[in-house]
């Protein structure tokens, strides 16, 4: 590697890898709406579509961090709007426990839960921008190789 390359490398901004879970009925449609409305947001996220946000097990999130994700964003329907009546209420409880567990590992701030409905393309965009900014400020995950 030449000196020139080194200089270039140090100028590169940290681009986080963010894993986003979207539920099939609300937040994935919300992400879709953000797309068709041509709302711009950072390209750091990788979306995984699940049928319901309550499908997301604690191990999914831990596995994501283990594999080098800098942040995990969990999105689902608003409370009361769940396609499966009360699935997202389970998510709510589980994610609170998960944040607590991750705090013990020093990763608590890297997990975020947000309710996004199918009509909230704008909110999806804003959530994304805010979360990427937050993770950029935190820096790379200590588990990243």
């Amino acid at each position: 590697m030449t000196d020139f390359d080194l200089e270039l490398d140090s100028n590169l901004e940290f681009e986080p890898d963010i894993l986003t879970f979207c539920c099939n009925w609300c937040s994935y449609a919300g992400a879709d709406l953000a797309g068709v409305s041509r709302l711009q947001y950072p390209a750091n996220n990788r979306i995984v579509r699940v049928m319901c946000s309550s499908r997301i097990e604690p191990t999914f999130i831990l596995e994501a961090f283990k594999e080098g994700a800098d942040g995990v964003l969990v999105t689902g329907c608003h409370i009361g709007d769940c396609h499966y009546i009360e699935g997202n209420e389970h998510t709510d409880v589980r994610m609170k426990e998960m944040v607590e567990a991750l705090e013990r590992l020093g990763l608590g701030e890297r997990l975020h839960l947000e309710w996004v409905s199918a009509a909230e393309g704008k909110k999806f965009q804003e959530t994304m921008i805010d979360f990427v900014e937050k993770i950029k400020a935190l820096g790379p995950s200590p588990l990243k190789q």
Binding site: P58, K66, E97, A101, G106, P142, L143
Partner: protein
């Protein structure tokens, strides 16, 4: 220490006595025979609960659980517990693995105690139990009660902020993670300046005293409690006391040979103990060890255990291992619709702390 299965002369006492054998077609004798004679790697090792029942019985002193542990480590090619399903989707294994890789992570509980104390209390993974077990048990109460009881004994303890002890990883065959945790914990203990390390968990006790090389003395809290004067035994002359039964956790009983200390502690507190049909070194297992093999078969073992406890007519089932506590409580809740278990399941420290509090109120 390499396992000594070559000593086996195939008497079959291990298979006859094996608790898992009652529910699964498993045979320690055959597994040893195949390994010794043909060099076959039997998948039977994944069924073993490593409860040490066979080692306790073996006339030759063959340490089958040790053999199982080594074999699991040797065969671990695609991550921990490759040959079996780990309970709770392996969330504890993942957490411990991440804890081993992260420098500053600890299992922490808020009560910190005296910073300069020579006695350290290690709560283990109680806080994670609270987060991920869906049972009606307050695990943090074990830590709180232990600290309270140690305080009453004027030991002035401090709560150690260590990582997971690595017990489950070791027995699941993930030696790499265990070694990392061991190294980091040993350093933390050395830095803390304690002389005595107290645990309230049978698994931590076994791991810290046998699998770690610590410069400090490791004791289980029951060994301190048996000699302690906790002002709970005042009413014994008139009041026969609460009727309890005690479940020997395999790690404290058969692994560490400590059968009497918890019983003495209970008797001192004014409780009367009714023993289960199978007790002390003959005790039946809670069915899950190292977070492995939580399935229909081990549930049958737990059902048998609960039925035995029911037969004693005791009001409280006491144990010294948070995992036994969790799994027996889980089974009790599950069975409530068909069976009527009228006893409570409690940890030794929680029970003693409650007894003490109750007597104060009178």
């Amino acid at each position: 220490m390499p396992s000594n299965i070559q000593l086996c002369y195939q008497c079959g006492k291990c298979t006859a006595i094996c608790p898992v054998r009652r529910v699964v077609k498993t045979s320690p004798r055959t597994t040893i025979y195949q390994s010794n004679v043909y060099g076959i790697d039997s998948d039977d090792i994944w069924n073993c609960l490593t409860c040490n029942r066979c080692y306790d019985t073996c006339p030759q002193g063959v340490d089958y659980p040790e053999f199982v542990r080594e074999e699991r480590a040797n065969r671990d090619s695609t991550g921990a517990g490759a040959g079996t399903k780990i309970a709770h989707e392996g969330v504890f294994t993942l957490l411990a693995g991440m804890m081993a890789d992260l420098g500053n992570s600890r299992t922490t509980l808020k009560e910190a105690g005296n910073e300069r104390s020579k006695v350290g209390y290690y709560p283990g993974c109680l806080d994670f139990h609270d987060m991920f077990f869906n049972v009606d048990v307050d695990f943090k109460a074990i830590a709180v009660s232990s600290m309270e009881l140690l305080g009453d004994m004027e030991l002035d303890p401090k709560l150690l902020q260590m990582k997971c002890c690595g017990h489950d990883q070791l027995w699941q065959g993930d030696k790499t993670t265990f070694d990392k945790l061991k190294e980091q914990n040993t350093k933390l203990i050395e830095e803390s300046g304690i002389e005595t390390l107290v645990t309230s968990c049978a698994e931590c006790y076994r791991t810290l005293s046998q699998d770690y090389d610590l410069p400090v003395k490791v004791v289980h809290i029951s060994q301190l409690l048996k000699d302690a004067n906790l002002n709970t035994s005042t009413a014994t002359t008139t009041d026969p006391g609460i009727n309890v039964t005690y479940h020997d956790a395999c790690r404290l009983g058969r692994h560490m040979g400590e059968y009497d200390a918890p019983r003495d502690a209970l008797t001192n507190s004014g409780a009367s103990i009714t023993e289960m049909k199978h007790n002390k070194n003959d005790s039946w297992c809670c069915g899950v060890s190292s977070m492995m093999n939580c399935n229909d078969r081990s549930k049958a073992l737990r059902k048998a255990k609960l039925d035995e406890a029911k037969d004693t007519g005791a009001d409280v089932l006491i144990t010294t291992c948070p995992k036994c506590l969790a799994h027996l409580t889980c089974m009790k809740t599950e069975q409530e619709s068909v069976e009527n278990y009228e006893f409570e399941i409690k940890d030794l420290t929680v029970f003693l702390a409650e007894q003490k509090g109750g007597k104060k109120d009178e």
